[in-house]
Symmetry: C2
Subunit: 375 residues, 2 copies
């Protein structure tokens, strides 16, 4: 695995050199994790002309899940850290700037979208002659297209989420609260080998159903409810997402069937539009048009899908204002939903990997059925 991280750092080095900064300071934890294999608390990565260095404000904490620091990477521990994440005493970013200045580096590219104004000022004050540039979202861009190793971790995560959801569906649901169902799902994720949930598991019943990111409450599942479940597994740091809506009881009402069919058609349209070279906004548009045609366009959220990876919500966005096109090997969610205030609604959410048609088209990672199940 060590080569993977060295290759990523070398790609970053090339990009930085091309934009005029030979030395870069990566402070955003998820970016440190991507480039170093793990992100000890408060650690930063100093990417030099030739050698890279991980500076950590304390002895390395045990890392979550299977994160292992690249053994080829030199690590330096700072003495005497007592501060929290906002303290500048023992701040690894400040120490890195100091070190770079000592080594005669004249310009350092930093992550201005992550460093706070206070930390940036502390960097300037320890190294007043060092020019601080902005590395921008280069690491986020590198992270966009996944290698097959990353995709296989997402695939395992999706299998785990499918298993946890499948087991839940076999149990009695009526009378149980949203919070208990969410906790049971999270326990099952861990039982099946997840590091933990990829995000706060959402279970929404009755009038809550169909709401994006609904936080579970003490409401109990009742006959006739829509039940929307959205969960994901974190596996070796990679996060996937699945969302399904079910109906409780023997026969769904007509409005439930109609709404379900509409959201299902929108979600299928979005999935089928995924291909390398397609504009992200066009994927959003085809899904949105279906919902619009059913008269529920106003109920749609501002985004119908997004990238996943080390973060549960990362680039690209599938939204009307999104720029850019899809590439092969980019994993995304497709998750339109409609929530009718007071009544409830439907969300259907899959994680897929964009693949060219020659490879069989989009690869569906979350394979739980999307039929409207009556439970």
């Amino acid at each position: 695995m060590s080569e993977v991280y060295a290759n990523r750092r070398n790609r970053l080095r090339d990009r930085c050199s091309a934009s005029g900064s030979a030395t870069a300071l990566i402070s955003r934890p998820v970016n440190v994790r991507y480039l170093a294999g793990a992100a000890p608390r408060g650690a930063v990565l100093l990417l030099g002309r030739e050698e890279d260095l991980l500076l950590s404000p304390g002895p390395p904490d045990p890392q979550p899940g299977a994160d292992r620091l690249d053994e080829a990477l030199r690590v330096q521990t700072l003495p005497g850290r007592t501060g929290g994440p906002n303290a500048t005493g023992g701040d690894a970013a400040v120490a890195a700037a100091d070190l770079a200045a000592d080594q005669g580096v004249d310009s350092l590219a930093v992550e201005e979208h992550h460093l706070t104004v206070s930390r940036h000022r502390a960097l300037r004050s320890v190294a007043p002659r060092l020019r601080l540039d902005d590395v921008g979202g280069i690491v986020e861009q590198l992270r966009l297209v996944k290698d097959e190793e990353e995709i296989s971790l997402l695939r395992v995560g999706a299998e785990i989420a499918d298993q946890a959801l499948g087991e839940l569906l076999e149990s009695i649901l009526v009378g149980r609260t949203e919070r208990h169902l969410a906790l049971e799902l999270e326990r099952r994720l861990v039982d099946h080998g997840a590091d933990g949930p990829a995000f706060t598991t959402s279970v929404a019943t009755g009038p809550h159903s169909g709401r994006r990111g609904h936080r579970p409450t003490d409401r109990r599942v009742e006959e006739g409810d829509f039940l929307t479940v959205c969960l994901g597994a974190a596996y070796h740091g990679y996060r996937c997402e699945i969302g399904r809506t079910f109906v409780i009881g023997t026969s769904p009402a007509d409005w439930q069937i109609e709404l379900y069919d509409l959201v299902f058609a929108a979600q299928r349209a979005g999935r089928e539009a995924l291909a390398p070279g397609v504009a992200c906004r066009d994927v959003d548009r085809v899904a949105r048009q279906v919902i619009d045609s059913g008269g529920h366009g106003d109920a749609l959220p501002q985004m119908t899908g997004h990238g996943v990876g080390l973060e549960i919500e990362e680039d690209p966005q599938l939204a009307p204002t999104a720029m850019g096109k899809l590439d092969a090997c980019v994993p995304v969610t497709v998750e339109p939903g409609v929530h009718l205030p007071g009544r409830g609604g439907v969300r259907i959410d899959d994680t897929l990997v964009v693949r060219p048609e020659a490879d069989g088209g989009p690869e569906l990672l979350t394979i739980t059925t999307k039929e409207l199940l009556a439970l």
Copy 2:
């Protein structure tokens, strides 16, 4: 409750006026929560000379737990947000700066320890004539001393954690993994009414025991192990912490009894030192001296306690380099621990509220026994 938030905002307004900025922009979510009762995702609080305004980048999400936005607060929703937390399109902080400039405000105090360099630049670019000052950690300072309402929420959270821990101790532990025990504790926290765990529950067995912030693994509890458990409940947003170490089997080994007695003595010394007016570093020192006298000073972490409240780790710090003195009504943890690599160790962790001697001295919130239990 509405008055509580208005009073907090008025205190902040007084502080800001005293330091020359009549208008402040609060962007750090936990600070927004403190001043507004809830922190919708991406929302910021614009504290004006007379009126305050919450700017939210989208329709309000359902809030976690019992967080309710102060009804007396004016709320403005920004149109057309599609960006994530790093996107500046639809950034409520940028919109707030724009609005302040429109209203003829000449200087705006911002949280430079929270705003990133990129967002700060976006503020400057929408409102080039607006002078941006630093509000510093004023809100964090206001949050330090808790009112009795806040303390009662912490007290309920501590009771919940005690209950969850007590129930676990009645079950069979040998053969179960750290991960399962941690999940069971988290489920019990929610069963008893917590919003959720206050932080990732730590269960550490055998050689892992005594390690601060140990992430649960698949190691199973064995006869003769030390078992360290650290958990907390979040209740209406407030977070407490309890940590205990047990021994598995009928009779602890001599080294286990010795180490336990040492850490217990250190923790008691720390607890007994808590009083209004005492220097934070002195509380740390008395606990540290006990551990030092037992020859384990090197194994001590850099901090023996910290404040709790809306964050699980907030000011003050109980550490050798900490500045400042304790006040009445400040809740802190006292949590010395010793971890011997390869063997394991002991942590004992309580949440207490600093009270004057006339009121009975420090109030212990986490009341689970600190005897060395053999389970």
